[in-house]
């Protein structure tokens, strides 16, 4: 694994625990890679890795390494992932796939090539592994919502409310690529595509930075990424999805909300209460219709049988545990893990279209998916 900050800590938790809950192929947590020798050694000790290293190039060619998990910053994704795939290692990479569309395309191409050799790759849209959202996808795939029309996706946080909160690399376009757009709209958009199994055909978008200068080391520095983003997406099915994300929604801590309205039913979700799914079945008599709060902890629910008895809720971090489980099982069975790098690229293309639309005063941008990047239909 490369990287041991927030995401490295979360991925380590997944690797450390997955085999205690799920039947997965045997593996070992071999090497943690980072830049600072002392820091990475301490991280390896703390998070359960046998060794540490500061040289990812050396590590990814070791014969005793079969899997590379990339939790390094986005601008490093392409180089490491392409090299690791070329070295014949299966690769899991944190989202977003890359900071630029060009890098993302190169990564998707490398993944396609590697796949033909049996080398697998996966992009870490971990919220696909929230049991409640996996259940939502099942219900939608079974037709329980009928024809989906109106979709509302939002991801609201508030960690940038304070205008005196200092400048960081995350607020600089050169290092971060974009702001709320790439960081959290990417999750919202991936969910829309995942849940509906649909494609985006048109995009209108808007970006805004509420606080344009923030305190830097030597005085005010310009914030060059968005604090908030808005978009409407036309989907191939005819549905329309709105997407709205913010880092200044005071009091909303980590609220990825999804509302999906079909002609036979609807789905509601909020990541702050991730063990719950709202579901309305519009085919029962009107007299008894209402949104149900399903506590998604029953043995019948996705991933849930591995955990605790009903009503004993699980935490955010196990979205990664499930991700790693599915990644390992796909590798073992020689199938493409989902979501693929191509799925990651698809989301990047939508994000790029939002930026293009915003730059041209919200005008609608047509999006055509190149045929070669269409991901294969996903398994259940």
């Amino acid at each position: 694994m490369i990287g041991y900050a927030f995401m490295g800590k979360a991925h380590s938790n997944a690797w450390r625990n997955v085999a205690s809950y799920f039947d997965v192929p045997a593996f070992e947590q071999r090497v943690l890679v980072g830049r600072d020798p002392a820091g990475v050694a301490a991280g390896a000790e703390r998070y359960g890795w046998a060794e540490s290293s500061t040289d990812w190039r050396q590590v990814i060619t070791r014969e005793d390494i079969q899997i590379v998990d990339i939790c390094a910053p986005g601008f490093m994704h392409a180089e490491i992932a392409i090299a690791a795939l070329a070295a014949g290692k299966h690769v899991l990479v944190e989202k977003p796939l890359a900071n630029t569309l060009a890098e993302a395309e190169a990564m998707a191409a490398a993944a396609r090539t590697a796949r033909t050799e049996g080398v697998q790759s996966m992009i870490g849209f971990n919220y696909r592994r929230v049991p409640a959202l996996a259940l939502a996808r099942e219900l939608i795939a079974e037709g329980r919502l009928g024809t989906v029309r109106h979709v509302r996706a939002a991801y609201l946080q508030d960690w940038l409310v304070d205008p005196e909160s200092p400048m960081t690399w995350r607020l600089n376009k050169e290092t971060a690529g974009s702001g709320a757009l790439g960081d959290i709209a990417s999750h919202a958009i991936d969910q829309v595509l995942f849940l509906l199994g649909d494609q985006v055909t048109e995009v209108s978008g808007r970006l805004h930075t509420f606080t344009t200068y923030r305190p830097g080391r030597n005085g005010p520095e310009e914030v060059t990424v968005d604090d908030a983003a808005w978009a409407t997406l036309t989907l191939a099915s005819g549905a329309i999805a709105s997407v709205e994300v913010s880092r200044v929604a005071t009091g909303q801590k980590n609220s990825l909300r999804l509302e999906i309205y079909g002609d036979k039913g609807s789905i509601l979700f909020d990541l702050e209460a991730l063990n719950e799914l709202g579901f309305l079945d519009a085919t029962v008599p009107v007299r008894e219709q209402g949104f149900r709060r399903i506590l998604v902890n029953e043995p019948e629910h996705p991933y849930a049988a591995a955990w605790w008895p009903q009503g004993h809720v699980i935490g955010w971090e196990h979205t990664f545990t499930h991700e790693v489980r599915d990644f390992l099982l796909a590798i073992a069975s020689g199938t493409q893990p989902s979501p693929s790098f191509e799925d990651g690229l698809t989301v990047q293309r939508v994000l790029a279209a939002v930026e293009e639309s915003a730059a041209s005063k919200s005008s609608i941008i047509q999006l055509t998916t190149p045929p070669e990047t269409s991901p294969r239909p996903e398994g259940a």
Copy 2:
């Protein structure tokens, strides 16, 4: 109508509006009765009554009066109601039926006698007319909950939180009969009996006064009624209901909550959100079970077709509008309105048993319903 304080204002609203929403027999708001000539005259003007009077005895014998609505304090209920029934007037009386069991029994006897002459009577347990609770009763009667076992009823308010809140007649046993017990536990107990169509066979109860002295006109005065009450009720069906009421539940304003658990489903309700009913259908697959929030404003719902389009919620006061509607229709059809004085007496007996149990250290009290007071089965 006799009385024009809180309940008089609410009942007036019902009389003033019922014919604008429901097809009821024609009637007029003829006389408002009260003690203070100027006050009652102003009240009549304000609330839509043609005249006012200070002499209820004279008014209840007037030939142009057919209905007497008693909103006077509880200690006056028996005398007025019995006299009005004897004068051949249909009587609606606010709950509780009376301050003492003896008075309640006399009223029930008077009602039985009057009924044989076609003179009807009704006790104002208005929450039976909350559309959501009427729907709950329908669902239970249809067997949607299966065998009901565990029932939880609570009525929580907080208007006595401040220990410096002054002494009033409501806190004196002589004038008020009891505290939270008669005032709000009566509603909770009536709901249990109404929703389940059941009878209480055993009672264990407890009463407590948290603030025993309060500021009076001439120094501290003793509070002689309960601030809170607890009871468990064994029902004839074998179900057990807990009842808990409080006037010191800080932050709970008017929270009558009901939870009814059967082997096929469950019901949740909170009066602070009275347009909503929680319903869980345990016969659907476990994977999609969950409490539904039914917004009880559809034309299919009890009373709702008369009001506004779906989702346009109604207020607390229309529990009385519905009560008056049902009272008028029962009179017109010559049938016994529900709940009857006997239903009111049944609740009084349970309240008396709670007091008896509390006085004997919570010991379980057997309750036998005298056969003559069994109310006739209620219509739909």
Copy 3:
């Protein structure tokens, strides 16, 4: 009053009850006007009007009439309102002000002229009178939210979910002007302006019709209005508001939702639970921050002292009772009722800009408010 359908029923309720709760100048419900003689006569009887008439022109010139309340369809608003103002009658008109911008401008001009003669006028954005929203406005005006940045407004209904639901005049652009946009986005936009006391400077919008043909009398007929609309609004203060409305949001019955995020606090609201306001105070220590559910029924709350004790919730219809109360008090004091026809025109201009933007592929439209239409600052 002219019109006795849904809105006529709701306004009648307000006129019938306002004086029982509020101290307003004495008035009588004199004449109900409609097209069908028998229908309007029955309506007058049912809703408490002394007489009925089929000739609005004659009625608005009667000397015993001082107020005209227009609940007729939108295309009739301009003609009636202008004539009534010219006849020296105070005018209350249901929203939207008119079906076209030209008519709305003519009405605003007539209102300005009449005002100089002491003749008042008001547009019926009744949700300004929801106590919870009036409280929200107070809190915002007091600075409790600090600088407002991110605003989310949505109005979700579901009465057009069924594609077999028949064609009506409301789905035809000629008779209805627009669809969800004029009907419910107007409310959402007015709330944004009301709560923030702000102006719209830029608009990007989108309209969509999910079901383009519906069963008519003689086969399928084309639906020529929108089922759903999306917009982002830039406000003069720098805040950005998203607006999203739908008639196909299955399971959402009447859900006008508002989320207002400032740097010192936030507000949440949902019309389906209109007695409640969500409020987060970001100036208290983080450890104890959280959205409060304020039950807006305390004597301290706007309009609430007139009603019932705390926790006894009121219904949707009393937004009109409060509207009529404020209208009567403004007339009595010779001041301009709020919202004015100019406020209605302001909303119409935003709606027109949404349509213009949608027609030009969501491009951002600049909105400049002509100086003469700036409404005077509103009173408390």
Copy 4:
């Protein structure tokens, strides 16, 4: 560790992860003990234990063992715990302390003796380590609720709803001691004592078994424990707490609910949403009072800084991670971990009083705490 069923799995998770999040003394997961050699070996492999054994007596005397974690069934607690303490090992034992009061007393005596030798012991009331409840305790200890009066505790589950659900050892008094009472009322009662720092002086209780026979291997077998229990507890402070627990509350999965009402504020909690705390501060102006939903994931909150950024919720299992952390830190500092065996005994005494009261028709039982068992005041 002894035992590897549900609780063994949960405790293993805690031991496996605690050092990745918290600074605790170094330790190793040395031996897992169970009865079935193959099963316990597989469990050790799965849950991260270096070895396995079937002989607890031998293991607890090993020199390389310093801590014994007892997850075996309740009837084995006393024997193992007393032996382990005698062998000088620190002991963590799952709740309930024991199946009988006599065993619990012997364990508390053994703990007192061992403590004088620096050997520590702890009873696993893990819900004291829910961050939201730890925050609640802080707020109460700081006086934010003022004088607490009315407390409501309930623990509702539904896994026994089906009358055809088979007989198990948990439903037999000889093996299980009691039913819902010992299993879940123990948690509710411990929370009341923990949160308030109070003592029980009087108890009235009731027990009920709704399904008295269940399918056994050879036909129906009698259920000899309670399905549900009710109690009211008088506390030394004068507060009164109701406790209600059920295994037949259809649709309630794991709902430990707490409501604590003081004269300056109130607390609400539900274990099904364990990252949230409801708090009402009654000292702010009434106009803005309301229950806040605090998402207890801020660095300022108990235990939370170790985990993820704000709004990234944790799961039920980390109540044990926190428990193990506090146990290790107490051992390292030579202080008594909390809750002590005496705390466990205190809860057992209340449970016994509920049974005694139930056996004598709910009569109130006086509870006197022997002076020698008063636990020392707990640290922050």
